[in-house]
Symmetry: C2
Subunit: 366 residues, 2 copies
């Protein structure tokens, strides 16, 4: 499947922080075709550092597929022969959508820290404008993992009449204090980098070392103790004996360094600050989720599928179960499954053998 | 109990890396008195960033007690009316023992990265010299948590005839790849700090920002998801509404920042590099522990008490159980207990109500 990323300029409504950006550009991809009735559209929401390129290749020579290609395509779980699939890059991002690295129309310079704070609700509002502009009145489903799952929940809360079903994966109704703490350490690492310069680095060397450390911390939280034992163990990189070096003695260290180093080529440090903050602010904890869900009686006619993964310690199963309980409390149909997996949080990207049939079956029965 | 930290200059044997330091200074404290038979001595081994000041105060005005004061003192679990307790700062440390910040006798400058690599075995060898110099032929017990627990295991392996019993707490027979990864991110944060200057910062501003980030990462791993919910939740620091700030919006963030900022006043960044590396190198994994334990037939006359904590994800219970299994395989008497606790890895410092009676009973029955 060959694809390309498009961009759409949209008018924009006010942000939760009280400010606004106008106009706003959203990068997106589509796969498959919208049917006559406009009833087969599915929105894919990406995770923290994802982008609009969820499936396919840009050209035949491309060695890499989109980040959820295992799930999206002809005859796959999200079957592009049947469904019209839309995947968009979030506002605040750095892969074609308006974000801190974009040109501020007022100053003709990149926003940097002048970019207003964004929230998950703002991301979803931008997506809704995009969906409208594509002529879609109601989505068949909205699907996403991690931060993408938070967007799916926000769709149910903000636009309950504009989507028929919801698939939040490996996610939570609120960011836990442990996860806020992990994000904060990453932000500190970026802002401590002398190249960060208060966010004004777009004409100079960007804060690569800091962003790289932030990615390394995050990457640890995406894996699990079990998968790290299986994948790396205590294997030494160069030879069997210890070399007595402060870095890259162990395979797990060079793997992490590689993850950090490749991340800086595709991500903007200021976007990382803003998007982690948006996730931190996501909060339908305590009884808030019940309250907002019960206000939308139309949700009783929708359907939810939630999936969590046994070794995910970033968004552990108990957080998915809290969502399931709130849905059940509000009498909203919900199916929940915990998949036994060693892959930690990354499982929602990797466990296609287990996860794809669940999604396929759920969509088929709508 | 008023105490003071003493220092002893010792000759030193070769290090595991092949180099040597001579002479070597070890900082230590003692509590209680050695009996005539010299049979009531207990060694306390500290964790990653601990020091010799395990119990008591330096003077009446002191607001803080030693790091394990809940356990050590008159009539406490490690009763200084009965036992002669020795606590020493590890080699490589920065609280009175020879480490990277010490003066290299050859160059008359601080060692910095010229300091040789040290291991847990080297720490234990230095302790053994200290014990000898204090006129103790055989310890009654050796006790420690986390990295201290690794030293306890190393005592059993290297000096099985010189200690009668062993109490390794919240520890492991090897550093897991996940923990190596967490250490590596901390080291990167330090070495990315422009003030680190290849370790030559002793005449200039030290790499405080980097060391602070390293401490923040580590601190997250010492707590648990549960205790962070209980202690901070998602409480906002300044007021009830969001302030839209990149830092210190949430209580958990300002707590972490405080932990990072206070750490820099008491710890040397190069020591942090060397000591985390020593822990990373600790490896009696797979069948290695069985092999080394079975070589020492005298261990069959010793006793072990192991304790782990249910919410400790840094050194999870399964790693203590692996040690218990190896001891049982070698027919060495061992008692093991998992204490149900929300406090994560820090539980070995905090769960005195549960842990102290276990230690007291074990020592009494020797």
């Amino acid at each position: 499947m060959l694809v390309d990323t498009k961009q759409k300029e949209l008018p924009f409504i006010g942000l939760e922080c009280g400010e606004f950006i106008t106009p706003i550009t959203i990068a997106y991809e589509t796969y498959g075709n919208l049917n006559k009735e406009g009833s087969n559209a599915i929105l894919i929401c990406h995770a923290l550092t994802g982008d609009a390129h969820a499936a396919g290749k840009f050209n035949e020579e491309d060695s890499k597929f989109g980040w959820w290609d295992k799930f999206i395509g002809p005859n796959k779980a999200i079957d592009t022969n049947k469904y019209f699939v839309i995947s968009s890059n979030v506002v605040g991002g750095c892969a074609g959508s308006t974000g801190p690295s974009s040109l501020n129309q007022k100053t003709k310079k990149p926003y940097g820290l002048k970019f207003p704070f964004i929230t998950i609700k703002d991301m979803v509002k931008a997506q809704e404008l995009l969906i409208q502009s594509l002529g879609i009145k109601k989505l068949l489903s909205c699907i996403g993992g991690s931060m993408g799952g938070m967007q799916v929940l926000e769709w149910a809360i903000t636009y309950p009449d504009k989507c028929q079903s919801f698939i939040p994966l490996a996610t939570a109704a609120y960011q836990s204090p442990q996860n806020i703490a992990l994000h904060e350490v990453g932000r500190r690492a970026i802002m401590n980098d002398p190249n960060w310069k208060g966010g004004k680095y777009y004409d100079t060397k960007p804060p690569n070392d800091g962003l790289s450390v932030a990615r390394m911390i995050a990457h640890i939280s995406y894996l699990s103790d079990v998968t790290m034992h299986q994948k790396f163990g205590r294997r030494i990189r160069k030879k069997d004996e210890l070399n007595f070096e402060l870095h890259n003695e162990f395979e797990v260290e060079s793997y992490l360094e590689y993850q950090g180093r490749s991340f800086i080529n595709r991500f903007d440090a200021n976007s990382y600050l803003y998007i982690t903050r948006a996730v931190d602010y996501f909060d339908y904890g305590d009884k808030k989720l019940r309250e907002v869900l019960s206000q939308n009686s139309s949700l009783k006619n929708s359907k939810f599928l939630l999936v969590s993964f046994s070794s995910d310690w970033l968004y552990p199963s108990y957080q998915s179960i809290e969502i399931v309980k709130a849905l059940q409390f509000c009498n909203i149909p919900v199916t929940y499954c915990e998949i036994d997996s060693p892959y930690g949080h990354d499982a929602f990207l990797l466990e296609d053998q287990e996860l794809a049939p669940l999604i396929k079956g759920f969509l088929k029965n709508l």
